[in-house]
């Protein structure tokens, strides 16, 4: 039993750190605040190019697809360092969609899509949610019909982040209307420049943009339907599973907290050094303690993946823990900063770079997005603790006649 990284892992961490020292520029960090983790501004484009040059773009991909075949622990270390540096995360196209294509695509599909993704020529927006199918993904009503060797796609997707910057949507649509709702969906790729695709912006509280995407008789080649028909719901779950490694990361909040700690060390309000205020002192200690706990929880996911497991309950725990903790951290830290805590990061006079105010507005999304925390708690109960499901076949009370 031990918690230390191996010498190789430490060397790898240091290599990533050295890279970030050169490439995580102040300009990049500010841009990330403005357009979000998944945004694609000039600085992040430059940064992604540097990652690509390093080969780290396809860090976890198998060698056969030109990847470095790094294991989950190395990937965890990589993601952790990126987040702590405040730079954009790797695009989901690379970390979630590509691995899914590698598993479900035909040889032709793999040969067609993977190299383009590797080069950065293709960037997917994820089209899972709809207005009436958020947490309940399987209720999607967007549909596609196969006509004359082409899919005709109709419907609407919501919260399609990146759709205004990407090249394609990776989306689930109903293709088998007569099957039960979970079994009637298929995974289809829709080019964003196809006639009939409309992308309209949805601005959310933190000032970030996401989109609604409308499909109006959009024609898509038959070969753009990936894997088996009717399996779309399960493929989406598979793609989401590939995101587990970065689910529940506390690194961004940790980074912001460290900036606040620096402020607390220096600042004086009303003639009292912040660091002498007992209310502030207790909160600083408690936040650090909680961050120490949260950080360890994500490690287990990586370790379990390393061993070939699928740590579903574990990553749900991380997700709940980190999302609720982030909200607390931003709340407390915004207060610690006093009147300055209200200031936007674009305001030059803000303390702690204004990250906390931005995170304050972003944090609620961590709890309801990516599978609401209620669903995550259900998952822990069902998958982690083996609790009975309401839907399971009629339960019989022990000791009574059935």
């Amino acid at each position: 039993m031990q918690y230390d990284f191996t010498a190789e892992q430490i060397a790898w961490r240091d290599e990533v750190r050295a890279f970030l020292k050169d490439n995580a520029t102040e300009a990049l960090i500010m841009e990330t605040l403005e357009i979000g983790n998944e945004g694609k501004g000039p600085e992040s484009t430059k940064f992604m190019a540097a990652l690509q040059k390093k080969g780290w773009w396809s860090l976890a991909w198998p060698k056969e697809f030109g990847g470095m075949d790094r294991d989950p622990m190395d990937t965890w270390i990589f993601v952790d360092e990126l987040e702590k540096a405040g730079v954009p995360m790797m695009p989901l196209t690379v970390t979630s969609v590509a691995p899914t294509i590698m598993r479900i695509g035909t040889e032709e599909q793999k040969a067609y899509w993977i190299p383009k993704i590797a080069k950065g020529d293709i960037d997917f927006a994820l089209g899972y949610s709809e207005a009436e199918a958020g947490t309940d993904l399987a209720a999607a009503t967007s549909k596609a019909e196969l006509k004359d060797g082409k899919w005709i796609v109709n419907g609407q997707k919501m919260w399609t982040t990146m759709a205004h910057m990407g090249t394609h949507v990776w989306t689930i649509v109903r293709t088998e209307p007569d099957e039960p709702k979970h079994k009637g969906l298929s995974m289809i790729i829709v080019p964003l420049d196809a006639p009939g695709v409309t992308v309209t912006p949805i601005m959310v509280w933190p000032g970030l943009r996401t989109n609604a995407v409308f499909f109006d008789n959009v024609e898509v080649p038959e070969a753009y339907q990936m894997g088996q028909r009717g399996m779309g719901f399960y493929y989406a779950a598979m793609a989401l599973n590939f995101e587990r490694l970065s689910l529940g990361s506390i690194a961004m909040a940790h980074r912001s907290f460290k900036l606040v700690v620096e402020v607390v060390k220096e600042a004086t309000f009303d003639g009292q050094a912040l660091k002498d205020d007992p209310w502030i002192r207790e909160r600083v200690g408690r936040i650090q303690m909680e961050i120490d706990a949260a950080r360890l929880m994500t490690l287990e996911t990586a370790w379990a993946l390393q061993g070939g497991g699928m740590p579903i309950a574990e990553s749900s725990m991380s997700k709940i823990y980190a999302s609720e903790l982030t909200q607390n951290i931003t709340d407390l830290c915004t207060q610690i900063l006093g009147m300055s805590g209200q200031l936007h990061f674009s305001d030059k006079s803000t303390l702690g770079q204004g990250w906390m105010q931005w995170l304050y507005r972003l944090a609620p999304m961590f709890a309801f997005g990516g599978g609401t925390n209620e669903v995550q708690r259900d998952i822990i109960g069902f998958m982690g603790l083996g609790l009975p499901k309401p839907s399971s076949k009629k339960l019989v009370k022990p000791g009574t006649k059935s």
Partner: protein, 358 residues
């Protein structure tokens, strides 16, 4: 004990609510945020016609002489109805003048909103009046005030500053002042202001003798903040209850999920606690019957609770409540802004403890 508004009060509140429902909606809020000047100005005039600027001012300066309890109920409705902060803050400016000097001649124009006034108290690293750096010398104000709401648009600035070793409360005109506008969470038109010799045109109280009056006025501002927060919580709770009944997922309204129902129940419990703490603090302050820690507890409790209610509201609304067109975020912005400005938790907790232990 009668812990709810009387029938007469309810009738007035109903009218206020009707006006706000008609005058404020998400589209307008979006527009005002982009262009706070003109549109808000029109609303300000309607509000002035309703007499809200002079709600508690003496009749002879154009006021309605409402008592503080009635005033607080008005502020509950302002919070519930999301009256733009720019307008609320003009109203708060008038209220401060009424508290400090109800006979002040400026009130004649302030109660009609022909003129407006903003409150210029905080300094970059000083919030307590005893620490202020801004000074009055020979009837002119010198120094820098910070986080001043409506600083650029108000006609007058009510400035609290050092004078004769004490605190003075004076009014200067918004003329030749230097501003550093701020981008804030609640988009509430704040700025840092440099006064380099701005001339005092009116005094509220004697020179250097204003500390006690300031504290009383500022307590009232805080109590009104509790009322606003309470009204806002009513709105968030109602909106959330409506939403979870209407929003279907997995073939049923999400209100049928016990976890959703229980979170909403906890919101309601929190709002109930805030309702009592707020209204008790206000009615008993007015009646002069405050016992022990009860007002301090309200000040320490309500703001933090307000944020929790807003988070729960966000959470249960999911993406729907996260778009900028949905009112949820305005409530949440106010929650933290108000906590920071009016009811930070720490000093009141400390004051409660001191009362018990020291």
């Amino acid at each position: 004990m009668h812990p709810v508004p009387t029938d007469d009060q309810e009738a007035i509140l109903h009218e206020i609510r009707k006006f706000l429902t008609k005058s404020v909606d998400a589209d307008k809020c979006m527009a005002w945020e982009k262009e706070p000047g003109s549109a808000v100005s029109a609303l300000k005039s309607s509000v002035a016609e309703l007499g809200w600027f002079g709600y508690s001012a003496p009749e002879d300066v154009g006021g309605s002489e409402a008592g503080f309890v009635d005033l607080s109920l008005l502020y509950e409705e302002l919070g519930r109805g999301l009256l733009p902060l720019q307008v609320i803050n003009y109203m708060r400016g008038v209220q401060a003048v009424v508290d400090l000097d109800p006979k002040c001649s400026l009130l004649n124009n302030l109660t009609t909103a022909e003129k407006t006034i903003c409150l210029s108290f905080d300094e970059e690293f000083n919030r307590l009046p005893e620490n202020y750096d801004v000074k009055i010398e020979g009837d002119a104000v010198y120094g820098r005030k910070c986080y001043v709401l409506n600083a650029e648009s108000a006609d007058y600035h009510l400035v609290a500053a050092k004078e004769k070793g004490g605190l003075s409360l004076v009014v200067v005109e918004n003329k030749d002042l230097k501003f550093q506008p701020l981008k804030t969470m609640a988009d509430d038109s704040q700025a840092h202001v440099d006064y380099s010799g701005a001339k005092v045109i009116a005094r509220l109280g004697d020179a250097g003798n204003g500390k006690e009056a300031f504290d009383k006025m500022w307590l009232n501002q805080r109590l009104l903040a509790l009322s606003e927060m309470l009204g806002s919580m009513f709105c968030v709770l109602d909106t959330t209850v409506d939403y979870i009944k209407e929003r279907w997922q997995f073939g049923q309204p999400i209100a049928l999920f016990q976890a959703v129902r229980h979170q909403t129940a906890d919101m309601a419990t929190t709002v109930t606690a805030c309702r009592h703490l707020t209204r008790q603090a206000i009615t008993r302050t007015v009646a002069g019957t405050v016992e022990s820690t009860e007002v301090l507890s309200a000040l320490a409790y309500v703001g933090q609770a307000y944020k929790k209610v807003c988070w729960a509201g966000h959470h249960l609304h999911g993406g729907t409540g996260f778009v900028v067109e949905h009112p949820m975020h305005w409530h949440s912005e106010r929650a933290q802004s108000y906590c920071i400005r009016y009811t930070p938790e720490a000093p009141f907790l400390k004051a409660i403890t001191a009362k018990l232990l020291d």
